[in-house]
């Protein structure tokens, strides 16, 4: 059963000159943790705002829990939780006051749904009298998540909750999402960090308003075999330059200390690269054939869609 259904949704701004979403379609199943992955400007926020009834699409159709995002907006607003990318709580209310306010607006109490937020709330409870505007980034994020959860939503929309967050805190945040998912909440989360794809049941790769790929990470990777090699040498800067010089090499991009090199034909890359780079005087060469990761695939899809 699908909880979110998006059919040919199109959205433009500035009298049609800026295309935010180009006929986007997908479905999210009930209880799924679904990731929208793409850089700034991909259309993630526009999509979230349409699904949470805050923005009208130019055309197309979308449903949340069987309700129409245009006609049934008041019903949808009662059953979804939305955490915008930009902090949008009341800066001049305290943690406690913000939380109570949101519970009251949704006709419930903090006590009634405390079990949903307890694990997150205890971390900010020592500061409950502090004004939201005076909180650190991490605390604001936790308060916003509590406020989005306090009415026990069926579907939770999280717009870039981990942007600008360090790698340790990002992992902790995703662990928290796993536990919310275990409670049966459908979660749609957007992120510019490609490595977070592995934390989602399924993902949509979004770029310039178009879905480039949509499936589980494993299936997407299996669909895009590449003649791909990881190459390392003593002089990394020279290596990067030299790999860009020969037509047999389709693309080369830095991945940490290595270059990921895609070869044009199905030639034996290890042999070819070894010979090519040795002839140019490179030492300390390490070359191995690798399976592409999500970022390799995103780059490939971007190049194909240019």
């Amino acid at each position: 059963m699908s909880t979110v259904r998006v059919e040919n949704i199109k959205k433009t701004y500035d009298k049609g000159t800026v295309i935010a979403l180009e006929e986007v379609s997908f479905e999210v199943k009930s209880g799924e943790l679904f990731g929208l992955i793409g850089p700034d400007g991909a259309g993630k926020t526009s999509l979230f705002r349409i699904l949470t009834t805050l923005l009208l699409p130019d055309s197309g159709h979308a449903e949340v829990a069987g309700l129409d995002v245009v006609k049934d907006l008041w019903q949808i607003r009662r059953i979804v939780g939305y955490m915008p990318g930009k902090f949008s709580l009341y800066q001049d209310l305290s943690i406690e006051e913000n939380l109570n306010f949101f519970a009251t607006v949704f006709n419930t109490t903090v006590q009634k749904n405390f079990h949903l937020i307890e694990e997150i709330y205890v971390q900010i409870e020592p500061f409950k009298k502090r004004l939201a505007g005076k909180l650190s980034g991490g605390m604001k994020q936790k308060l916003a998540l509590c406020c989005a959860l306090i009415h026990e939503p069926k579907v939770l929309f999280l717009d870039e909750p981990t942007t600008g967050v360090d790698p340790v805190s990002r992992k902790e945040f995703w662990d928290m999402l796993d536990r919310l998912k275990a409670r049966g909440i459908t979660i749609i989360v957007s992120t510019p960090y490609m490595d977070e794809a592995s934390r989602c049941d399924r993902i949509a790769l979004l770029q310039k308003g178009k879905i480039l790929e949509l499936d589980s990470l494993e299936k997407i990777i299996a669909r895009h075999p590449q003649n791909l090699y990881a190459v390392d040498a003593d002089n990394a800067y020279q290596l990067m330059k030299d790999l860009r010089l020969t037509p047999e090499i389709e693309s080369t991009f830095a991945f940490g200390e290595e270059q990921h090199v895609t070869l044009q034909s199905l030639l034996d890359g290890e042999q070819f690269l070894h010979q090519y780079l040795s002839n140019l005087g490179h030492t300390g060469l390490k070359i191995r054939k690798i399976t592409p990761n999500i970022e390799d695939i995103f780059i490939k899809l971007m190049l194909e869609n240019q």
Binding site: G38, P39, D40, G41, Q123, I124, F127, L135, S136, G137, G138, M139, K142, E160, T163, G164, V165, D166, P167, V168, S169, R170, K171, P192, M194, Q207, Y237, F253, A254, F255, G256, E257, E295, F298, I299, M302, L303
Partner: protein, 247 residues
Amino acid sequence: MADSVIYTNQLTRKFGDFVAVNAISFEVKRGEIFGFLGANGAGKTTAMRILCGLLTPTSGEARVAGFDVYRQNEEIKKHIGYMSQKFSLYENLTVRENIQFFGGIYGLSRQELKNKTEVLIERLGLHDEADKLVGSLPLGWKQKISFSVAILHRPKIVFLDEPTGGVDPITRRQFWDMIYEAAHDGITVFVTTHYMDEAEYCDRVSIMVDGAIAALDTPAGLKHQFKAANMDEVFLQLARGAKRSDA
């Protein structure tokens, strides 16, 4: 310290009882790409503000581009470049206007500005966009222009605060090409990032934990020291031990 562009010794900054930066000592050499990592709340921003001449330390020593952070902070501001995702360009000015505005602020003469603006537009391949509002350009382009503007006055050092956040994977790598080029030209690069693969591109990396520098070495040295396969693992090992966090 003859060839060091940044020198700190026991540099400390307190806010009341809270020790944001706790006796950090390090040097950054000319032309080096120095990665400044740490968890949210570890003290990176405070340290960076001191080094940019925006905040006075409580105690300890620091010199940036040869100038003292206590007495010569105005000189520091003239000799550095700065770029972050939050503060980069004016959206409602055109590309050309932004270049001229920031070039003017950094003290370039009218003639220098004129020449440099055209050279820069040429080099970035932005002929058709030069008179468009910056707000209408994709983020990746803004970041590239913003970086170019930050080094327009040929500073000794450029501070980059999470320059690649939210940028697509290709543009992110093109941005690092620009960093390499600048370093190659002798500009020292001081950069913060939450992308651990980018830490690998730095010549040396420091990792702050609870206000102190918990580790500082080349990426290879750090991976060896912490018996880690990549910088992500190094970071996790160090930052997991942190007592204070952003909460």
